[in-house]
Symmetry: C2
Subunit: 421 residues, 2 copies
């Protein structure tokens, strides 16, 4: 018995010693070679997060980090960018019939937009006013052939008699569905309000059959999405149609913009809004795509979490996956697995976006389409896309200058005056 | 007894009803007017975080969110930016003797830097090679008078006989301390390695007494900071000297850069490194300043959390406070309360930074100083600084283009070829 007890004591002592050595081994300074996995040592909040919040300890290895590169599209004319022709808000790019397809808001008016809050016949009050949905096809994604109108403005009382705009594509059981914003021609002056409707066809070349039905109903009065449902973004996920959308709300102080989710078993609905909506607190013209087991989002422009790529393992609860810069506006990525009900989304490498301060005439609203490339794909590894930051000349910084009012305030507040004796 | 029991049942029932009503009141859609405080309802992860991770639900109200504006400094010449004169890595700006003071790395050489890994007499191998620490003063922060050298390169064996650079200022008990990087003139070819030393004076105009001592020792071999201690950044916090610094480590794949903390009771040390180092996982030439009860940091350029402003309530455990763009490089902010041992740091509104791709000659390294303005202050409310994003023309996007190699790879991988019959 005594021998046995002694043995236990010795074993325990060895264990303590072993544990203490093992702890000590980790208790020097943080290692010189950056560990790929979280080291077993006390960490500051930032370094802990560097291992728990991101896919890799370095942006270079983070599959959801990328810079973005831009290329002009060949084949699309803009009338010398005088504001009379706009193309904007591209859909996802899809591949069909041995071609790439993209749909977009197309406006060709006699005059550029004249910003008013009333609707005037033939005079656009916004860049997307009086627009139709057109489409183009391409073999390489750089040179595009415009094919003309896909969804024209219908005669009253068809939905969208004033403008149809900001479309996105869904393929479901061999049929194609274009969801889009439909602006009424009712002259009530609220030119921003619209509903979302859907047209469908058995080929991406049409003919498109309008449903003339509101497919995502606005929220009840007092709810965040009661005035606008914008930027419909459909895909197939978990066997259902997941349709993300944006709403503009509040407004005093500035508009709040967040994104919600509605799901359905059928492309024509009924769509059920998710009880945790909004699912993204930030972003404007957010793009989403299946990624690994969840959904990734390009969260651009607005809100506390602008300039991020986010990821939700469940399609609902998004976390910041990376922080980046110069993200594509209103990106319509090529998402090969958007409609395959994939359980491991592969990500994206290119798409079409717009730039909406494109007019060469001052004060005129006009948007053009550009191509963007990136590496947010599990299948591509492009170190040039994973650089940490763009470098700029002083002249670029100096373009971001104080306004005269700011400069006056600052000089008054901070200049050291001679003290009078 | 029965009556009493009944009463309890009724009370319980009322309570259930009351709770259920109170829950129901929150169970419609998310409200149209963005709540300032977190609403009592189930929230998605992103909206939950919008209330718990940031100082406000909107960037407009987030005291640690700002854009940055840039202004050219008057009074400093750069020889037509031919690369022979560089000013970079400014210190914090301080106010003394009814003037603003800033110290910086100053190089004036016969030739621009010629990038080599050996030291050649009189030929700079990097932008900061053969540099001294100079200073300038100003009444308004826009026009500066260069006052000449503060810390010259000492003769051997003085620390920094090859270059002294990247300084920051501390005021402690009426005396001034300049911490800076000291590069040896030992011709061993490792031009990036240096130590941090300190000189002190009873006036910001000098004379500066070198201690000729290494003030923050490098880590032991195998630790993250064993090769470099860069960017010393001292301030007074919790009654001590808090000195943040950066180390470059690893290197294959690219250099990892993180920031650590060393504290001391005396400006000449000994400095104790924090056991949780590194305290920032990201950033390069990070600037820090007291903010509220803690410390805020401008985390720029490198790492998963580049382009953020971070905040640590305890000066150690930093969290992302905002995400922004076009942050000042190597910012030396004017921090009025950097040395006051404040318990409520007021933040910053301006400072000096550098741009280090300033040369007008191609391939030549050259940095110039700029002024930056922002609103990261509890005392200023400038809505123009709180806008969500800068807007750019298509030409700016198109400057960020695919390399020829990228374009070739992408066209090969994504062009749809005619299928051979």
């Amino acid at each position: 018995m005594r021998k046995h007890q002694l043995h236990i004591v010795w074993t325990a002592a060895s264990l303590v010693l072993l544990l203490s050595c093992s702890t000590q081994a980790e208790e020097g300074g943080f290692p010189f070679v950056l560990p790929k996995e979280k080291p077993n040592r006390p960490l500051s909040a930032a370094v802990e997060r560097n291992y728990t919040a991101y896919m890799a300890a370095r942006p270079e290895d983070n599959e959801l980090y990328s810079q973005f590169k831009y290329t002009e599209l060949k084949g699309l004319d803009y009338n010398n960018r005088d504001g009379t022709i706009t193309r904007r808000d591209p859909s996802k790019v899809i591949k069909a019939n041995e071609k790439y397809y993209v749909w977009y808001t197309h406006r060709h008016t006699d005059t550029p937009p004249i910003r008013t809050d009333v609707t005037v016949e033939k005079v656009p009050s916004r860049d997307w006013d009086l627009a139709e949905i057109w489409y183009a096809t391409s073999k390489d994604g750089f040179t595009w052939e415009e094919q003309g109108v896909a969804i024209p403005r219908p005669a009253k009382p068809g939905l969208g008699s004033r403008a149809v705009a900001t479309t996105d594509i869904l393929k479901w059981k061999g049929r194609y569905y274009l969801y889009y914003q439909a602006f009424p021609d009712d002259g009530d002056g609220r030119v921003n309000d619209c509903v979302v409707t859907v047209s469908h066809a058995d080929s991406p070349d049409g003919q498109w059959t309008p449903t003339n039905a509101i497919v995502i109903p606005n929220g009840a009065k007092g709810e965040w999405d009661h005035l606008t449902i914008h930027d419909p973004n459909p895909m197939v996920y978990r066997g259902k149609i997941y349709l993300y959308y944006k709403a503009d709300f509040d407004g005093v102080p500035p508009t709040a913009r967040m994104a919600g989710l509605a799901t359905a078993d059928n492309p024509l609905g009924p769509f059920q809004k998710h009880p945790l909506n909004p699912v993204l607190s930030s972003g404007h013209e957010t793009s989403l795509f299946p990624f690994q087991e969840g959904i990734a989002a390009l969260v651009i422009r607005d809100g506390n979490e602008h300039f991020t790529v986010q990821y939700a393992r469940d399609g609902v609860n998004f976390e910041i996956a990376s922080i980046t810069e110069l993200m594509p506006i209103s990106a319509g990525p090529y998402v090969p697995d958007a409609f395959t009900n994939t359980k491991c989304g592969r990500g994206i490498t290119w798409g079409i976006c717009h730039v909406n301060h494109a007019s060469l005439a001052k004060g005129v609203q006009n948007s053009i389409l550009l191509r963007f490339d990136c590496d947010l794909s599990l299948d591509v590894h492009d170190p040039q896309m994973k650089k940490h930051r763009y470098l700029y000349k002083p002249e670029f910084y100096l373009q971001h200058r104080l306004s005269p009012a700011q400069r006056k305030r600052i000089i008054e507040a901070t200049t050291i005056r001679e003290e009078k004796p």
